[in-house]
Symmetry: C2
Subunit: 276 residues, 2 copies
């Protein structure tokens, strides 16, 4: 996918040659300067994260929704109301360091800004949620190709017919990401990703998209379609876009997320989320 | 430890011969009928849990405190405000099914009732927090003796000099439980318990109580002392009494916990918290 710029403006920053080698702070600096691109494959070895930002009054419902749905919503960190940085993005600013945001009012997208200056409020609580991009380096090291990286596109994501456990005002469908895996490597993909429970862990489903209510793999709800080669099985992982799907359904007055696939790159090492 | 009754009353219920074989619902029925006893070794194979119950107005701070301190405060479930049962205690009642409770007002213990009828309010939110008793059966199956079970006493627990990560109004010390382990089996104890991250997981410390600010192992802050035989190393696990220590320090108007060692016995299988 080509990096995109705000309408009517040339790209402010050029896509780096080899984003996998950038340190997280270097990547965040590019996004702060205006680069807009999916982040899969960036800063190999460092954890990437989803965002969900809500006013303090909604924060308990969001945190409880995450607690009750730990596969799609593994919380890596929570910034206090009005707080804009933390050890997960040392020296960074949550309002500027993500490639693109989505702003929801009453559950409807009203803006997709590249920074949050005009939307920020001092009562906003930021939830940093694990992302499956984190285990993609481990998949690759295990000899499993990651199709959307190879094909240079965003990961395909789908709303499913599986309902999340509701919490207070928050309810919605499970969202999943999909990676096609050669049938001979499905067990390895399960084994490898199950060791990363904080970033969605093991797949929630292997092989039958219809059972998840996904009619057509070539038409993802978020991100880009990827080719599923013959002999490959579609494997589905819980996805951190799930809180945003709940926001769309539950219609809080204000909520802010990241643009799907356009993640916060944190300073946490992938390995810090590895369990035995 | 002998079962105890409310002051001035004879024990209403007799301690069963072999509590390890009771189903959780059978154990909860005994506690509901008035039996008061530590629960280590009860209902082998089923997860035991700590309680922290606070008014809805404090619930976000408690949940965030738990999120930021997952080793001592692994949340297994949250009951909505006023809710008194859930799938973790099917057919049970959170107000009666724990052997003994502790009620705090402004951080001070004001009551240790065996049921909560007169303290219950419809705005109370119940947090069910993982307990290290859950992995004791796995330790025993791994050939590691559990001293407080062998000695028939409550597990020793200690306030440490390690501070938890604060969250809003909640701040306090890390509380730990201690089990003496033969030096030759310490590695096994780490390996076995690390597979149960939802019930405190791997030890947080091995071998040097002074470094945790524990001056005298024979004087635990909660529970009972156990003998540490020669050649045994004291091994420390994060403990779910930690939220109560934070309550004592942070002084919310009202909070309710379980009496340390006197746990909720849930219907969840130990094995459901096992990771690869």
């Amino acid at each position: 996918m080509e990096p995109t710029a705000a309408p009517g403006q040339p790209p402010a920053v050029v896509l780096p040659q080899n984003p996998s080698t950038l340190l997280p702070a270097e990547a965040r600096e590019l996004f702060r300067a205006g680069l807009v691109t999916p982040t899969s494959g960036w800063s190999a070895g460092y954890a990437q994260a989803n965002l969900i930002i809500v006013p303090k009054a909604q924060a308990f419902d969001v945190l409880l929704f995450a607690q009750r749905n730990p596969k799609p919503c593994p919380i890596l960190g929570v910034l206090d109301a009005g707080q804009t940085s933390s050890a997960l993005l040392s020296g960074g600013d949550i309002r500027t360091d993500v490639p693109r945001y989505v702003v929801y009012e009453n559950g409807v997208q009203v803006d997709q800004p590249t920074q949050l200056d005009e939307h920020w409020r001092d009562d906003l609580v930021t939830f940093i949620v694990g992302c499956s991009f984190t285990f993609e380096a481990a998949l690759q090291e295990g000899g499993i190709r990651v199709a959307h990286i190879d094909q240079g596109v965003n990961v395909p994501m789908y709303r499913t017919s599986v309902r999340c456990e509701p919490a207070g005002s928050m309810a919605g469908p499970l969202v999943v990401s999909m990676r096609p895996v050669p049938a001979s490597q499905v067990a390895d993909a399960v084994r490898i990703t199950s060791r990363y429970p904080a970033v969605h862990g093991a797949p929630i489903h292997v092989g039958n998209p219809a059972e998840l209510g996904i009619a057509d793999l070539s038409r993802p709800d978020f991100g880009d379609a990827v080719t599923v080669p013959p002999g490959h099985i579609p494997v589905f992982w819980a996805c951190g876009v799930t809180p945003q799907a709940a926001v769309m359904e539950s219609r809080p007055a204000l909520a802010i997320g990241h643009a799907p696939g356009h993640m916060l790159i944190t300073d946490a090492r992938d390995s810090s989320y590895l369990v035995p």
